[in-house]
């Protein structure tokens, strides 16, 4: 049963994520946190943080970790299969008709149509993280970390993994 749920949760959130791994993040959150309650929102935030600090595709890292937490190595395997296999098989089968897909107006419209929903979902998620941080660490620390990380990533263009490691150090010293 748990394996079926894991498969379904990761299948549905990845197959609806048009445009690669990142648009799937809020969909994975909806299944993992809201529907099945495998992780709290805070734990999901940790997964996202470590996932962003490590290289490689994001969706597979999240699937493997959540699957592992819920049902060990078998759980991680199931979640990974659900994430990777359906679209991989479609790729192999459909490659012969690539000329049709490449310029298809359907594909362009469908990719576009997902974007506003993903924007709203990400916005809601961002808001929730700020609210949680505000209650946990207070206004000043939240503001320093949020503005500091924005400047570091977007203005100075420091690597995200360095920003996350720095924030961990900040927390170890100032928030413990």
């Amino acid at each position: 049963m748990i394996y079926l749920q894991l498969f379904w949760a990761f299948f549905i959130s990845n197959i609806l994520g048009y445009g690669g791994g990142p648009p799937s993040i809020p969909l994975i959150q909806a299944e993992v946190v809201d529907t099945y309650k495998w992780l709290t929102l805070k734990e999901f935030g940790d997964v996202l943080a470590i996932g962003n600090a490590l290289p490689g595709p994001i969706a597979t890292k999240m699937a493997a970790f959540v699957g592992f937490q819920v049902a060990g190595v078998a759980g991680a395997t199931i979640a990974l299969i659900a994430t990777v296999l359906p679209s991989a098989i479609a790729m192999v089968i459909l490659f012969k008709s690539v000329a049709y897909f490449k310029d298809s107006p359907y594909v362009k419209e469908m990719t576009k149509s997902v974007q506003p929903v993903v924007a709203v979902l990400l916005g809601i998620l961002a808001y929730q993280f700020f609210i949680h941080a505000f209650y946990d660490s207070g206004m000043i620390h939240t503001a320093i970390l949020a503005i500091g990380s924005f400047v570091a990533m977007e203005v100075i263009k420091i690597h995200p993994s360095i920003v996350i490691v720095s924030s961990l150090a900040y927390g170890a010293i100032l928030l413990s």
């Binding site: 609806l16 994520g17 048009y18 445009g19 690669g20 791994g21 990142p22 799937s24 969909l27 909806a30 529907t35 805070k42 940790d46 996202l48 943080a49 470590i50 490590l54 290289p55 490689g56 595709p57 994001i58 969706a59 597979t60 890292k61 970790f65 592992f68 991680a76 990974l80 994430t83 359906p86 991989a88 479609a90 192999v92 897909f101 490449k102 298809s104 107006p105 359907y106 419209e109 576009k112 149509s113 506003p116 993903v118 924007a119 709203v120 990400l122 916005g123 961002a126 700020f130 620390h141 503001a143 949020a146 990380s149 977007e154 995200p160 996350i164 961990l168 927390g171 170890a172 413990s176």
Partner: protein, 198 residues
Amino acid sequence: MSYKDLFIGFARSGLLGYGGGPSVIPLIRYEAVEKYKWMNDEEFGDILALANALPGPIATKMATYIGYRVKGTLGALVAVLSHIIPTVVAMIALLGSLYAMGQSAIIKGMIAAVGPVIGMMLAVMTYQFLQKTWKGMGIAGSIASIGVAIVALKFIGIHPAIMIAIFIAFAFIKTFIRNRAATEVSHQGSTMNRSVEK
């Protein structure tokens, strides 16, 4: 063309690419086109176009298909596993040990400090998707679709997956109707031409 090349090529691009699948694509291109010459630039472009057209994670679709092309089903398996397994193991080891030490005040402080940073990363991603929406739909379309999405997701509480499915279905129908209207117009045009010729 060997399994070892597939393994090295995809392990390397998986370990050096930061920021999720889409940012890994240039690295995969380097391995597939320049380093191992499994295909030329044009073929790589076709594969990328199809990967972009299908839903789901990009990098794993690319790895599977290129592996399949080079060495069949086993090649696909080698490529995708060497691309994802190293970081997947690192992820479980890192987070697992973080939670194992869970109750110490230092770990709690570290986890608390990551919250606002993740919030900011998500806010930046929100902005990027708003920009894409605006580019794709124009001002009126963006405001309407975002308004509908906010009301449905936040206030009515419709499940995000259902919401996305509805938007995709809507786009599909819209394109279908537009295509049909376009072919009808061209049909009418051609019959008019014929009557003029008569």
